[in-house]
């Protein structure tokens, strides 16, 4: 036995190490009833401990490198910034003045928007609290688009908090360690965010492809989608607030797997490959200042009064309906409805259809406006006979019932500047 182990020592060690790791992998994977396997979204205690150790070993060095790099770059940038600083200051002052004016206008729009949203009982999630953090490292694997930031449990970060930059969304917090946090970038294959195309209002799911590019999947083929269309967060994933910029449409390709669907390649708004500073959204609960809250309360009160008035109107109409005879009784079958009851005298029925319709039949009456001016017989005109074209002569007393006699046109039946053919036929002396 000893000789066996001595002879195959290398293979035995290899087998033991491999089996141990495979067993560890088997613990981490779960099989679902659908047949597909998946990893636990939340790491087990043992796995988390290993990640914690690895992060604890690497992050101090990463912080050191990051800090050293920042110091060197700060020295250089401070020197460079001193040059032309006066000119830049003047330009910035002008920009501030312009932005103040724009801000005043935007504030009015924002207040109006909040009032309207409150009226609609729609509470949109606004970003109210963010925490700035530095990116200190990455996973080091092109298959795992995660990065580490220098804030963790010490700053009350929690998983699933959105991470953004000034340009757009970046990712979400996946795991939180004592002094760092792991962020899953939006261009990872396992990432997912609800997005909406700004112009066409088409919704989809944002995720990454193997090359780390952004793509929107789950979209039906639509020719309206054009290159350059803005993509923003839809707000339905409960992670990213609505309306944050994601990027622009770069290319539209057919989904190779699902027929009729397309993949929309997105050029990210944020520089996902070169992240330095990010912001973690720590609070998205609606929170208004006193004036805004006052406006919302007023809107809510007005909305309540309107709703009460509508309810009163509905109640009154129901009471009226109960006291009036109805043509449709919801409690009776269709063949026994009052509308079909021949014994009910109150029902007005349409007249029976004539066997031999003539010019006296309702609907066949010839009015001066509808009679052909060159026809001698109105029946011929009604039947479309091709008679000789002669000037029409109006014959008083022969007009059909309801037909207005020439010269007796009601003011509301004919336009003042229009003359009927019969009026044209009247001699001048009759006027």
């Amino acid at each position: 036995m000893d000789s066996f182990f001595a002879r195959y020592r290398n293979l035995v060690v290899l087998a033991v190490v491999l089996v141990a790791q495979i067993m560890g992998l088997a613990i981490q994977v779960r099989r679902f009833a659908g047949g597909h396997n998946t990893l636990d979204v939340r790491d087990g205690s043992g796995v988390r401990l290993i990640r914690l150790w690895a992060e604890a070993v690497v992050s101090p060095f990463e912080r050191g490198i990051h800090g050293t790099g920042l110091t060197a770059s700060d020295l250089w940038s401070n020197y460079a910034d001193l040059r032309n600083v006066r000119k830049q200051n003047q330009q910035l002052q002008q920009t501030i003045d312009r932005l103040r004016l724009e801000q005043a206008a935007l504030l009015e729009d924002a207040k109006q928007g909040q009032r309207l949203q409150a009226l609609l009982n729609f509470q949109q999630k606004y970003i109210y609290s963010t925490l700035a953090a530095q990116v200190i490292g990455s996973s080091g694997s092109e298959l795992s688009h995660v990065f580490y930031i220098d804030k963790g449990e010490d700053y009350n970060l929690k998983p699933d908090m959105a991470v953004i930059t000034g340009d757009g969304i970046v990712g979400k917090v996946r795991d939180v360690f004592p002094h760092t946090a792991q962020v899953l970038a939006i261009n990872d294959q396992t990432s997912g965010a609800g997005v909406i195309l700004a112009t066409t209002r088409i919704r989809g799911i944002l995720r990454g492809d193997p090359s780390g590019r952004l793509m929107v999947v789950g979209v039906l083929s639509d020719e309206r989608i054009q290159q350059g269309e803005a993509v923003a967060t839809a707000g339905g994933d409960l992670i990213f607030p609505r309306g944050l910029p994601v990027g622009v449409v770069d290319k539209v390709t057919r989904d190779p797997v699902h027929d009729g669907f397309i993949d929309i390649m997105v050029k990210p708004a944020a520089h996902l490959d070169r992240l330095d500073e990010v912001m973690v959204i720590t609070s998205t609960q609606p929170r208004f200042n006193d004036q805004q809250q006052k406006d919302i309360d007023t809107s809510q009160a007005e909305k309540g009064a309107d709703a009460q008035a509508i309810r009163d109107q509905l109640k009154a109409s129901q009471i009226m309906a109960e006291h009036l005879p109805g043509l449709i009784d919801p409690n009776l079958p269709p063949d026994q409805q009052p509308l079909n009851d021949s014994s009910n005298p109150s029902i007005i029925k349409p007249p029976p259809q004539p066997l031999h319709p003539d010019r006296f039949t309702p609907g066949n009456a010839v009015t001066p406006a509808t009679s052909a001016p060159d026809s001698t017989d109105s029946n011929a005109a009604a039947t479309g006979s091709q008679g000789q074209r002669r000037p029409a002569i109006a014959r008083p007393g022969t007009a059909a019932p309801g037909q207005t006699k020439p010269g007796q046109a009601k003011p509301n039946q004919a336009a003042p500047n229009k003359t009927t053919p019969a009026q044209k036929a009247q001699p001048q002396g009759n006027r």
Binding site: L25, V29, V57, V58, G137, S138, L143, T190, R274
Partner: protein
């Protein structure tokens, strides 16, 4: 590729390094692997822990040491990702073992052989990773062989520069 006979093995030099090198070089490789992609962005086509694993496995010519070092480096890399811990571990364990076993047979002092070995073993590590992830675990993973090819080329180029530098750190009698 120069094949060695069994009698030549005893004549082969087994590279020995100070303990500090054994500790620091893998650590530096892991830290740089985690930090450099931040600087290089999408052009970080390399796997420094794998290159270091191959180097020490080839130099020490001990399959057990290569196995253990590959396992440690792979597990450490896995721990920094959000994937299952052990996939890289299995891949680099196998690569460490194969590299050490190969180092017994062939002359690994030749630069061309080192480059070719790094290229081939990098692709092998990728293949094992893919096989374990998709075949054994049955997890969904979109895969790009082009990316893996670039990584293998990057590893070969890095090995061309790094191996001579690390050779200078070995203990010479």
């Amino acid at each position: 590729m120069k094949l060695l006979g069994a009698n030549d093995r005893r004549d082969m030099e087994i590279h020995r390094y100070p303990v500090l090198v054994y500790a620091l070089v893998p650590l530096v490789a892991l830290v740089l692997q985690a930090w450099l992609p931040r600087v290089l962005g999408q052009y970080a086509y390399f796997d420094l822990p794998l290159v270091v694993t191959i180097y020490f496995a080839l130099g020490r010519r001990s399959p057990i040491q290569g196995t253990l070092m590959g396992a440690a480096m792979g597990l450490f890399e896995d721990a920094l990702t959000h994937h299952a811990i052990g996939v890289n571990g299995v891949a680099k364990t196998a690569v460490g073992f194969i590299a050490a076993s190969t180092g017994i047979r062939i002359d690994v002092e030749n630069h061309a052989i080192r480059v070719i070995l790094n290229f081939a073993l990098s692709l092998l590590a990728s293949a094992i990773y893919y096989g374990v992830y998709r075949g054994m675990l049955g997890l969904d993973l979109k895969w790009s062989w082009f990316t893996q090819l670039f990584i293998a080329i990057g590893n070969a180029v890095i090995a061309l520069v790094l191996f001579p530098f690390l050779d200078r750190l070995q203990i010479r009698d």
